[in-house]
C-alpha cells in the first residue's frame, strides 16, 4: 500500500492548507516561461486552471472536443454554487460547510481536502464577482442566497437557473484574456487519446484533430486532466452527448489508479424518460425543492387512475396525497440529499404509486408555493381582499422570476404547463463522485499527471451535495492546482523543452492508431449506439439506484461479453482521416465498456450502503432508521483505488484508509 500516499499535510485541520502553501516550492517568474502545461478539458476546473496557470506565466495548451471552450458541460449546471460566506448570518462557517460536505458524502471523503474546499469557497465568490459574473442580487444590491439539499443554512449563490453558464463564461473570459496575451494556445475540436509517459512521468498527450482526423503529439512538463465525469456509461444521463471517460480511462491504462468508480449520483429531479428514441435526460434543478413539494397519491387506485389518464393530479385533495419526503424526513423534508430523495422516489414507484404512463414518475408541485408567495405579495402591495386568481398571478410572477427558464424548458419538453399542473420528475444519472485517484496535491498515481474537478474523486465521498460541483471545479482550478503543480514543476526548471521525437511518443501514437484501425475493421453488424444503449441498460438495471451481489455479478459477465461483441462487430462508417463523429463515439464507448465492468466490480466489492451506493444486503433492520442505508465503517472506511492490470476483472484493489480526526462518524440521519 505504500504507493497510496495521500500526502495530507500534518498539523491542525484549519492550518493544513496555509502551512502547505507556505512550505511548498515555488518557480520563479522567469523559469515559468520555460515550462509547458497541458490542460485537457475546459469546463470550470480546466478553464479556471488554464487561465490561472497562464496568468502565473506557464505556457498553457488547452484541449477540448467541443468547438469552443465555452461549450463544456459545466455550462449546464443550473442551481448554484456553495460558499461559506455567511452573508445571511444564519450560522454558516468554513467548519459547517466542511461538516455538511463530509456528512453529505456519507463519511467517505478525505477530511483535509474537504476542509480546504470550504476554506477557499468564499474566495470563489469574490473572484467571480470581480470578473463580472452577474449573480442574483437583492433589492439592496447585495448578493442573494438560497438553500440546497442536505444543509440547514442558505449558502448557495446563483444566477437564476443558469449558474453554471455564468461561472463557465467567467472562466472562459479569463481564458480569453490569456489567449489574447498568447499565454494559452487553445486546441478546440481535439480529443485526447493517450497520455505519454517518459521515465515514469507524464510528459505529453496524443490527440486527434477531430476536423482533419490527424493524430498529433503534444509535449509538456505536466498534464492536467479536467475532463469531467463518466455518467454517460449509463447511456441516458443528464451529461452532454459528448461527455466521456476516455481521457481519464486512457490515463488509467497508463498507470493512474481509478477511485470509487461505483459512486454515482442519481439526481432525484429529472424529466422522466418518454420513449426509446430518448438520447439524453434533462435535469430540473434541485433549487426547485426550495419551493416545490414532492408527492404521489396516497391510494394505489388514484395512482392507477392518473396513469390511465382518468384523473388529474390537481383533482386530488390534500388528504389523498402522500408528501413522502416530508412524512419520512420531517427535519429536512423536501430538502434531503439527492441520494435519499432518489431512493425514496424509486421506493414509491416500485410500490405502484408512480404517476406517468410508465409508472416511473412522481410529482413536484408548486401550487402551495405560488399561493404562499401570492399572499405575501398581496400583503406587500397592500391589496385588500385579493381574489384567488389575483393571488395566483402574484405568486406565479415570483416563481417565474426564480425559476422561469426551468419552467419554460419543462414545458417545451413535456408539453404541459408546470404552473398549472405539477411537474413530473424521476431520478436520472447526473454526476460521478468517483474518478481518478489523486493525493492532496491533486496529483494522480502517475507523476506529473493531475486531475481536477469531476474527473478526480476527492471531495464528495459517496454522495455530492447540490451546488458543490461548481464550487469544487473552481476551487481546484483557481486556487488549489496553481499552487500544488508549482511544487512539482520547480524540479523541472532545468529540463528544457520536451521533445515529441522520442520512442515513447512513437509508441503511444502507434497504439492510438492501432486502436482506431481496430475500431474501423469490425464486421459491421451493429452501430456504436446499439452497443452504448445495451451497456446503458445493464448499468441502469444492475448498477443503478439499488444494487445486489447477484445483479452485479451478472453485470460483470454481461458487460465483458458485450465488449467482446463490440470489438468484433461494431460498425464505424467513413474514414479515420477526416471528420468522423461515429469514430469518436466508438472510441468513447470502447472505454465505457471497460469502465462499466470495473464499476460493477467496485460495487460488488463494497458490500455496504453509503451515499449513492446502495446495497440491498446492507440496510438498517430496526429502529427509527429501519429500511435506510446501513454503512459499515468497520470494514469499508476506505477509498477503493483500482490499478489497471489488463482486463477490468483483473484490476487490483488498493485501499486508502480514511482517517477522521475532526468529525465523529455517525449514522447519517435526515429525520
Amino acid at each position: 500500500m505504500s504507493i497510496l500516499d495521500s500526502k495530507i499535510p500534518s498539523g491542525p485541520l484549519a492550518d493544513k492548507w496555509t502551512n502547505h502553501k507556505n512550505t511548498i516550492d515555488l518557480v520563479n517568474p522567469a523559469n515559468k516561461r520555460n515550462i509547458d502545461v497541458i490542460v485537457v478539458g475546459t469546463g470550470l476546473a480546466g478553464g479556471s486552471a488554464a487561465a490561472t496557470l497562464a496568468e502565473l506565466g506557464y505556457n498553457v495548451k488547452t484541449f477540448c472536443y467541443q468547438d469552443s471552450p465555452r461549450r463544456a458541460h459545466s455550462i449546464a449546471a443550473q442551481g448554484g454554487i456553495n460558499a461559506a460566506k455567511n452573508y445571511q448570518g444564519d450560522g454558516d462557517s468554513n467548519y459547517r460547510l466542511f461538516y455538511d460536505t463530509v456528512k453529505g458524502g456519507d463519511y467517505r471523503s478525505r477530511e483535509a481536502n474537504v476542509y480546504r474546499l470550504a476554506e477557499v469557497s468564499a474566495n470563489i465568490i469574490d473572484q467571480c464577482v470581480a470578473q463580472g459574473v452577474p449573480f442574483a442580487r437583492e433589492y439592496g444590491g447585495l448578493l442573494d442566497n438560497r438553500s440546497f439539499g442536505g444543509v440547514l443554512v442558505s449558502r448557495t449563490f446563483y444566477a437564476k437557473g443558469q449558474t453554471g453558464q455564468q461561472l463557465l463564461l467567467g472562466a472562459y473570459s479569463a481564458m480569453n484574456r490569456q489567449i489574447n496575451r498568447g499565454k494559452i494556445e487553445p486546441f478546440n475540436r481535439h480529443e485526447m487519446l493517450d497520455v505519454v509517459k517518459i521515465d515514469g512521468k507524464a510528459r505529453g498527450i496524443i490527440a486527434r484533430d477531430l476536423v482533419t482526423g490527424k493524430i498529433e503529439r503534444h509535449s509538456a512538463h505536466a498534464v492536467v486532466l479536467a475532463t469531467g465525469g463518466y455518467g454517460n456509461v449509463f447511456f441516458l444521463s443528464t451529461n452532454a452527448m459528448g461527455s466521456n471517460v476516455t481521457a481519464a480511462w486512457r490515463a488509467h491504462r497508463r498507470g493512474a489508479f481509478f477511485a470509487n468508480p461505483c459512486y454515482t449520483q442519481i439526481h432525484p429531479t429529472c424529466i422522466p424518460v418518454s420513449g426509446d428514441h430518448q438520447s439524453k435526460l434533462t435535469l430540473m434543478s434541485e433549487s426547485l425543492r426550495n419551493d416545490g413539494r414532492i408527492w404521489v397519491p396516497k391510494k394505489k387506485e388514484d395512482a392507477e387512475a392518473i396513469r390511465a389518464g382518468k384523473l388529474k393530479p390537481t383533482q386530488l385533495v390534500e388528504t389523498d396525497r402522500d408528501y413522502y419526503l416530508e412524512r419520512r424526513y420531517p427535519a429536512f423534508g423536501n430538502l434531503v440529499p439527492r441520494d435519499v430523495a432518489s431512493r425514496a422516489a424509486k421506493e414509491r414507484c416500485d410500490a405502484g404509486f408512480g404517476v406517468n404512463k410508465t409508472g416511473e414518475a412522481v410529482y413536484l408541485d408548486f401550487a402551495s408555493a405560488i399561493e404562499r408567495y401570492g399572499k405575501e405579495q398581496a400583503l406587500i402591495q397592500d391589496l385588500s381582499n385579493p381574489s384567488d386568481s389575483e393571488i395566483y398571478d402574484l405568486g406565479k410572477a415570483v416563481v417565474e422570476n426564480k425559476y422561469g427558464n426551468l419552467f419554460q424548458m419543462y414545458e417545451k419538453i413535456v408539453d404541459e404547463n408546470p404552473y398549472k399542473t405539477p411537474m413530473m420528475i424521476y431520478p436520472a444519472v447526473h454526476y460521478t463522485m468517483g474518478g481518478l485517484w489523486v493525493d492532496y496535491n491533486l496529483q494522480t498515481t502517475v507523476e506529473g499527471l493531475y486531475a481536477a474537478g469531476e474527473a478526480n474523486f476527492s471531495d464528495h465521498g459517496a454522495n455530492r451535495l447540490g451546488a458543490s460541483a461548481l464550487m469544487q471545479g473552481l476551487a481546484d482550478g483557481y486556487f488549489v492546482l496553481p499552487y500544488t503543480i508549482g511544487d512539482y514543476l520547480s524540479k523541472d526548471i532545468r529540463t528544457g523543452k520536451i521533445s515529441t521525437d522520442s520512442p515513447e511518443f512513437d509508441q503511444a501514437e502507434k497504439d492510438v492508431k492501432n486502436s482506431i484501425n481496430k475500431l474501423m475493421s469490425g464486421t459491421g453488424a451493429h452501430s456504436v449506439d446499439y452497443y452504448h444503449k445495451k451497456l446503458g441498460k445493464i448499468m441502469w438495471n444492475k448498477c443503478g439506484m439499488s444494487r445486489n451481489a447477484k445483479g452485479l455479478e451478472e453485470a460483470i459477465s454481461e458487460i465483458a461479453e458485450l465488449r467482446a461483441d463490440f470489438w468484433a462487430n461494431v460498425k464505424v462508417p467513413g474514414s479515420p482521416d477526416s471528420m468522423n463523429p461515429e469514430l469518436e463515439k466508438a472510441g468513447r464507448v470502447a472505454d465505457f465498456l471497460e469502465l462499466g465492468e470495473l464499476f460493477a466490480k467496485d460495487a460488488l466489492t463494497r458490500n455496504e450502503s453509503c451515499g449513492g451506493h446502495f446495497r440491498e444486503e446492507s440496510v438498517e433492520q430496526d429502529g427509527e432508521q429501519k429500511g435506510e442505508a446501513l454503512r459499515d465503517d468497520e470494514n469499508f472506511k476506505f477509498v477503493s483505488a483500482w490499478e489497471y492490470k489488463g482486463e477490468p476483472k483483473d484490476a487490483q484493489l488498493h485501499k486508502e484508509d480514511l482517517v477522521f480526526e475532526n468529525i465523529e462518524l455517525k449514522t447519517r440521519s435526515y429525520k
Partner: protein
C-alpha cells in the same frame, strides 16, 4: 409521422455541397429534432451510408453547440428554443423539412451541417473579459452593491449562448447582437466599466475583421434568438462605441 427531409450534404470546406432528399417514417411528437436526426443517422449507418454531421452536445439548450437552419429559420419554427429543444410535435405528418447549415461568410462549413464559429471566440478574445487576475485576492463580493435592475439586465445579456442564430437570421450576416450582448453585460456592471472604452473598440474591430456584415436594424436576430437577447443591447453598444470613439 412520415416526413421528407431535404438536407445539405457537403464533404468538407473545399468541396461543393448539395441538397439530398431522405424520407423518414415513425417520427414521434415527443422526439426532439436532433433525436429525429439520430433515427435518420442510425438508418443511414445500417444502410452503409455516411451519417449526417451536425454539431450538438448538451441537448438542453444551453451549450450553444447545435445550430441548423430549418425551413429557412435558425433553430426552426418554434420561439425561444434551440434546435435540440425543438420537438417534432411542432411539425405535421407529410411535411417536407429543409435543413441547412447556418450560412455566413464568417461561418465556413466544416462538413454537412457543421460550421466553424471560431470567429465568435476571437471576438471574445479581443476584449470580452475583465482584466482581473484569478488569484482570489480581490475585494469582498459584497463590497460594491449593484442595483438589482442593472444586475438583472447584465444577467439577461450574459445568457447569450453563442450559437450564431443571430448571424444566420440576418440578411447581412451581422454579429451585432452577439457582440453587443457581451459589451452590455460588462458595461452595465461596475466591474466591467473600467475597461469599457477599449473593450467596445477592440471587439467591434475584431467583429469587422472576421467578415460579419453591418446592422441595418431589421431585428430578425432578436426574433430568432433562442435566448431572447434584446435589440436594446445593440443600441447600448452603439452608444458605447460612439462615446469610446469620441474619447479615443
Amino acid at each position: 409521422m412520415k416526413l421528407t427531409l431535404k438536407i445539405w450534404r457537403q464533404e468538407n470546406a473545399s468541396a461543393k455541397g448539395n441538397m439530398q432528399t431522405y424520407p423518414i417514417d415513425g417520427v414521434e411528437g415527443d422526439m426532439s429534432f436532433l433525436e429525429m436526426l439520430d433515427v435518420l443517422n442510425e438508418q443511414l449507418i445500417n444502410k452503409g451510408e455516411e451519417p449526417v454531421v451536425f454539431d450538438h452536445d448538451c441537448r438542453e439548450g444551453i451549450c450553444g453547440s447545435c445550430s441548423l437552419q430549418i425551413n429557412g429559420e435558425p433553430h426552426g419554427p418554434d420561439r425561444l428554443v434551440t434546435t435540440c429543444q425543438l420537438h417534432m410535435r411542432k411539425f405535421n405528418d407529410g411535411d417536407t423539412i429543409v435543413i441547412e447549415p447556418f450560412r455566413a461568410k464568417a461561418f465556413p462549413v466544416i462538413k454537412d451541417l457543421m460550421v466553424d464559429r471560431g470567429a465568435f471566440d476571437r471576438i471574445q478574445q479581443a476584449g470580452g473579459y475583465v482584466s482581473v487576475n484569478t488569484s482570489g485576492n480581490t475585494i469582498d463580493a459584497n463590497a460594491i452593491p449593484v442595483e438589482k435592475e442593472l444586475a438583472d439586465e447584465a444577467f439577461n445579456a450574459a445568457t447569450c449562448i453563442g450559437c450564431g442564430a443571430c448571424v444566420a437570421a440576418c440578411k447581412n450576416a451581422s454579429a451585432m447582437l452577439f457582440t453587443s450582448a457581451k459589451v452590455s453585460q460588462y458595461a452595465l456592471l461596475p466591474q466591467g466599466r473600467v475597461e469599457a472604452t477599449t473593450r467596445v473598440l477592440n471587439m467591434v474591430e475584431q467583429m469587422d475583421k472576421e467578415g460579419f456584415g453591418n446592422c441595418t436594424n431589421t431585428g430578425a436576430c432578436e426574433v430568432e434568438c433562442p435566448k431572447g437577447i434584446s435589440l436594446e443591447n445593440i443600441a447600448r453598444m452603439n452608444r458605447e462605441y460612439l462615446s469610446a470613439s469620441l474619447k479615443g
